[in-house]
């Protein structure tokens, strides 16, 4: 509610008090959804998730509790404006967060993570398992930013969309090597008409794949496969992407933007699209995003309390946590926000090739370099190191103490990434594995890890690796194997950006924790980088593994693109994209082995040898998983491969995003629940309670 003056506020408050005291059932006047109610709703959601005969209805739950639902608008803050109006031209989540509400693709996910028809009302897969035929819903309209229909949604719109995605190159990687002839088209060998996407007629779309892929449909929820209105593109050309005028493009989704300029740092408003095919299920009439640069969190918090915004995060550093406690809102209404699918991790450099980048220079002697290399390649040392760091303490440096554990991650693939559709049971090496239907990935992975006695707990929000006793065991074995005396130390380089106070504190904390956790065995050598170039080229911008100027490097992250274990785990295969973060070059075969170093000096080994030694078993398990065609079996096999990766301490998964305190009026899981694609930001079915302002 927006009050024009104190006087009006008092009058209105009086009227409300008067109204509620006049007989009739007393409405629920909680200002936010309580933590208890939220927990109950999540239980119901879990039940519906595991058992498809049950349903989850947050709207009914809340109205039964006496709440009034808010359906006129959903208002929240934003800090990044719309930079592209055509989803095929952008990879940014900040763009997709809006565009997924304005433009709809072939399929979408619902709040239980199940795939549902969207523009395609049905589809079939042929006997070769490589050709999909989609039947486009008839009568869907493209509307302007004034809500007027200009054209019908046709199959050809999807062909144009993919062509634009491939030509622009930002999100084409999801189709390269997957849809037939995309790579050949990019190389100039064929025209686009030869590419495996064709409009058989206005309402039939055919997509042909290079090879069968059981999870192909999950790719369709990303920008790569979004439609572009053909007639609009004909009249406006490349201008359809210019977000300075929302009239440049047209929209087929549940909402359309009504602010003229999407790039302003003021507000973005969207209106219900009455011509949307499923408009009757859209739960809110207007979406309003208000620009907030985060400079005045106290004001934003006050606005949330007054019912202007639907919810807010609470943090000690911004003072909002303190305010919520003072207002006695914290205890009853707090909850912890969901973590995301992106995983940030660290790891040892298994085959270091660079010791100097600009001013970031290593001070290790040859003997120390040799020892660091031997240690990194020693399984027990790696295990000891990755299990000896108290990550909660480490995280407290950059996060409020209260929430330090909430965004910790212990696996590469998010534990609730997905669940198996059908039960899986198989026997291997005399052991029988049984996983009931709807077991989550995390549950499966935990079983494999426990079997290996890996000492890892998979759930997010805790330090599942820190185990000092186990670390000491491993270090003891390592010291023996490396031939170290009781006073020997192992020095590992770590480059940090010195001008940043936050970074310096973070790296120093790591140094101290490694020292403590290893009882003085591991001494992290902090190397100062005084320019951003030195810092980035030592790590993030390292072209290949041998350019990594760190012995222990952390901060890399990876997120999933589709519904398969390979989207994460392929990054550590022989030609994987994340091998750089552990110091290995990509291995294509036929690489020359480096020259043997002179006696007493350090020299890099052949990457293929290092890979085989440390990741050979992982790669074998990946081969097995990749060959599996049944989705559920496949997920289980990838879990087995990841268990191997983590048990061999190749990487230390560290943190993810999310995991903060918040209060909200939005019902949990009323929006799509999925870990890839753009659907997670769709707001058409959002359920929120009306603010009751005291």
């Amino acid at each position: 509610m927006k009050f024009k003056s104190l006087g009006v506020m008092l009058l209105t408050a009086g009227a409300v008090l008067g109204a509620t005291s006049c007989g009739g059932p007393r409405g629920n006047d909680n200002p936010f959804i309580t933590s208890k109610e939220r927990a109950e709703m999540l239980e119901q959601w879990e039940a519906a998730f595991k058992d498809s005969s049950k349903s989850y209805n947050p709207a009914k739950y809340l109205t039964d509790k006496g709440y009034t639902l808010k359906t006129d608008e959903y208002r929240t803050t934003y800090s990044t404006e719309i930079k592209n109006l055509d989803p095929t031209q952008t990879y940014r989540q900040s763009d997709s967060a809006y565009l997924c509400n304005f433009i709809e693709g072939l399929v979408q996910y619902d709040n239980l993570g199940r795939m549902q028809p969207a523009c395609a009302e049905s589809w079939e897969l042929d006997s070769t398992q490589t050709k999909y035929t989609f039947h486009i819903r008839k009568g869907m309209k493209w509307v302007t930013n004034q809500g007027a229909a200009v054209a019908d949604v046709k199959a050809g719109d999807f062909v144009l969309g993919l062509k634009r995605a491939v030509d622009a190159g930002y999100v084409s990687y999801l189709a390269e090597g997957v849809v037939k002839n995309v790579i050949e088209y990019e190389d100039g060998e064929v025209e686009f008409s030869q590419v495996g996407i064709k409009a058989k007629d206005d309402y039939t779309l055919e997509i042909e794949l290079v090879k069968p892929e059981s999870f192909f449909l999950s790719r369709l929820t990303y920008n790569t496969f979004m439609p572009v209105c053909q007639s609009q593109f004909e009249s406006k050309g490349e201008d359809i992407n210019k977000s300075t005028d929302t009239g440049n493009n047209v929209y087929n989704g549940p909402f359309y933007p009504t602010t003229v300029d999407g790039t302003v740092k003021t507000m973005i408003v969207a209106q219900r699209n009455e011509l949307y095919w499923d408009n009757e299920h859209t739960t809110v009439d207007r979406l309003v995003w208000v620009y907030d640069d985060g400079s005045n969190p106290a004001q934003t918090y006050t606005d949330v309390k007054n019912g202007i915004y639907a919810g807010t995060g609470l943090a000690v550093s911004t003072g909002t946590l303190g305010l919520a406690k003072k207002d006695k809102l914290f205890d009853d209404y707090k909850y912890v926000t969901d973590t995301t699918a992106t995983t940030y991790f660290g790891g040892l450099n298994l085959n270091r090739g660079t010791f100097e980048v600009g001013g970031a220079v290593s001070k290790l002697t040859e003997a120390e370099k040799i020892l660091a290399h031997r240690a990194a390649n020693n399984l027990n040392f790696r295990r000891g190191l990755l299990h000896c760091i108290d990550r909660v303490k480490w995280n407290e440096v950059s996060r409020d103490k209260e929430v330090a554990a909430f965004n910790l991650r212990n696996t590469y693939i998010k534990p609730d990434f997905t669940a198996i559709e059908s039960a899986v049971s198989f026997t291997e090496d005399g052991k029988t594995y049984e996983f009931p239907a709807k077991s989550t990935y995390g549950e499966i992975l935990q079983k494999f890890l426990d079997e290996k006695e890996a000492h890892i707990k998979v759930e997010d929000g805790q330090d599942g690796w820190f185990d000092k006793a186990y670390a000491q065991e491993c270090f003891a074995k390592a010291k023996q194997e490396l031939g170290l005396g009781p006073n020997d130390v192992i020095k590992l380089d770590n480059v940090y950006y010195a001008p940043s106070v936050g970074q310096t504190a973070d790296h120093k904390a790591l140094q101290q924790l490694m020292d403590e956790g290893s009882n003085g065995l591991v001494k992290l050598q902090l190397i100062e980088a005084n320019t951003t170039a030195d810092y980035y080229y030592s790590g993030y911008y390292a072209d290949s593994g041998e350019d990594l100027n760190n012995d222990f490097y952390y901060g890399s992250g990876w997120g999933p693109d589709f519904n398969d274990g390979s989207t994460y785990l392929d990054t550590f295969r022989r030609a994987g994209d994340m091998l750089t973060t552990i110091g290995l070059n990509k291995i294509f075969g036929g690489e020359e082995a480096p020259e043997a170093p002179a006696a007493g000096t350090y020299g890099r080994e052949a990457d293929v040898d290092v890979y085989e030694r440390n990741l050979g078993t992982f790669e074998d398990l990946m081969d097995v998983a990749a060959a599996e065609t049944n989705d559920s079996q496949r997920l289980v096999k990838y879990a087995k491969a990841e268990a191997e990766l983590l048990d061999k301490a190749i990487i230390m998964p560290n943190t993810t995003e999310g995991g903060n305190y918040a209060i909200t009026r939005v019902a949990p899981r009323s929006v799509p629940h999925v870990n890839w694609g753009v659907c997670a930001d769709m707001l058409k079915n959002i359920v929120q309670i009306k603010a009751s302002v005291k």
Partner: protein, 519 residues
């Protein structure tokens, strides 16, 4: 005077070019260009040769270099001879295949490509194919790049700064009747200069929106944004309509004069040519091919927001600052002066964010004024707090300077002489001191007026009003080279013009000052 002005303008232009050139060198040559990928999510997902090519294409987009790929070269070459059937030309296919192998050295087309670009000063690069067994990991690429020379860059930039519309703008062979002529505009009941074959239909027209007379004959280009407003020219961004779409009762162009209206948000005067197929909706509204129109928003443009806030704040500053400064000077060392000094010191010392928040807390708490523009029910009220926040430091500054000037004058000989002659305090002050003190103020007036156009960085962000203030700061953090150069040009031009105008105003105000310097 005329000679002086001419020399002055010439020197200004030279310094203008130097400033712009320096910024271009800094932006394009001295800042590490790889920084543009820091927050690029697509870059992370690419690898091997595709990553390198993605980088090269982005560099070209950002204006660092020109990129020519062999595949595009071959396509253009064979399209000239074979049209759309180029793809089945055997030589074309042979050249495409040769890129992947070592036989590319022998292929005539590829050798031609290499020679042509080497001669033009390009570096020719080759990325060999990467395979693992029979599996293709990364395609082969042959391409040429050339960093853009700073003088070429400056020249191209300024040569593209002004463009004029002509009747040959529209590239549609079906359009035969091309003209520019005056017509009677039934929508505004005024004459309008209308074109056919020009990009815009209405080249000069009148309507009821500020500045009431509009033109599309020539356009001003400051440079295209790479990251923040992708593809749009910064000059357009500054004057783009903002806010929620406003639908008004208007006649469709096809219905002009009939009185039949519809509620529609288009501004039909902004119509540009549509070379595609006209939709049914367009055919019901328009009677020609000028069917692409902009929409009206309920807010001001970026420039408008900054200017309004800046001007009103400046007026308030002069209205309050000058008299208060004079008051302080006349009541020197008394209570009024002491209070004034406290205010000045406080407002100068406090960081702007601090007093903005303090002020807004009072404004929203006690007076119920809206904080964010987007949350305000009555939008005009949302400007009050930002304008006051902007005015406060200017008031303090003017108070300080006016007080200084007046005190200086008060101590000068001619004042003592005038007093001894018997003139009253008031007469001395109004006839002499004020006018002399004002000289220093006058010089700054054009600067203040034009300075209102530069916007206020913090105020606009905090209150969520979209102005030009944050254009430059955001561009720097996102490495948006186009906007950085455009803003530099804009601010430099404003500074130079204000300085010149200030000097001229000074000579008009004080006849003793002469620009030519002679007797």
């Amino acid at each position: 005077m005329k000679m002086y002005m001419l020399k002055r303008i010439l020197l200004s232009l030279v310094s203008f070019f130097i400033v712009v050139g320096t910024v271009m060198v800094l932006t394009y040559s001295l800042i590490d260009r790889t920084m543009i990928f820091q927050s690029d999510g697509a870059w992370k997902k690419y690898s091997n040769n595709e990553k390198t090519m993605y980088e090269q294409r982005k560099y070209e987009e950002y204006g660092y270099l020109t990129l020519e790929e062999a595949t595009d070269y071959l396509k253009t070459k064979y399209q000239e001879t074979d049209g759309e059937a180029y793809i089945s030309n055997a030589q074309y296919q042979a050249a495409i295949a040769a890129i992947k192998t070592t036989s590319r050295e022998e292929n005539a087309d590829l050798a031609e490509f290499k020679m042509k670009y080497l001669k033009d000063g390009y570096k020719v690069n080759y990325l060999p194919q990467i395979t693992s067994g029979s599996k293709l990991i990364s395609s082969a690429y042959l391409y040429a790049t050339k960093d853009i020379n700073v003088f070429v860059r400056i020249f191209t930039y300024f040569s593209k700064m002004f463009t004029f519309e002509t009747i040959y703008d529209v590239d549609d062979p079906n359009l035969t009747d091309r003209y520019i002529r005056w017509e009677w505009d039934k929508r505004s009941n005024m004459p309008a200069l209308v074109g056919s074959g020009t990009t815009h239909k209405y080249l000069i027209y009148f309507d009821n929106k500020f500045p009431f007379i509009h033109q599309n004959l020539f356009h001003f280009h400051l440079g295209i944004s790479n990251a923040e407003y992708i593809g749009s020219d910064v000059a357009d961004v500054m004057v783009n309509s903002q806010g929620e779409i406003v639908k008004t009762e208007q006649e469709y162009p096809i219905d002009l004069g009939t009185g039949i209206t519809h509620k529609i948000g288009y501004d039909f005067h902004t119509a540009t040519y549509n070379s595609g197929e006209l939709t049914l909706a367009e055919l019901t509204m328009f009677n020609d091919r000028y069917t692409i129109c902009k929409t009206n928003g309920d807010g001001l443009t970026m420039l408008g927001n900054s200017f309004i806030m800046g001007i009103i704040a400046s007026i308030l500053a002069y209205l309050f600052g000058l008299p208060l400064g004079v008051l302080m000077a006349r009541k020197k060392d008394k209570i009024a002066d002491k209070i004034g000094n406290v205010y000045i010191i406080l407002i100068m010392a406090l960081p702007s964010l601090a007093y903005i928040f303090m002020f807004s807390a009072i404004g929203t708490g006690l007076f119920g004024l809206p904080y964010k523009y987007a949350n305000a029910e009555i939008k005009v009220l949302a400007y009050i707090l930002p304008i006051l926040s902007l005015a406060l430091p200017s008031i303090g500054s003017l108070m300080k300077w006016m007080r200084r000037y007046v005190i200086d004058q008060q101590n000068s000989d001619y004042v003592k002489f005038a007093k001894s002659q018997g003139l009253s305090e008031r007469e001395v002050f109004s006839t002499h001191i004020a006018r002399n003190a004002f000289i220093y103020i006058v010089h700054g007036i054009p600067g203040t007026i034009l300075g209102a156009l530069t916007g206020a960085i913090i105020t606009e962000r905090v209150y969520g009003i979209s102005g030009v203030g944050n254009l430059l700061t955001n561009a720097v953090t996102s490495y948006d080279n186009g906007v950085i150069v455009a803003c530099t040009v804009f601010y430099t031009a404003l500074s130079i013009i204000s300085l010149i105008l200030g000097d001229i105003l000074l000579t008009k105000y004080d006849p003793r000052i002469s620009l030519s310097g002679g007797r």
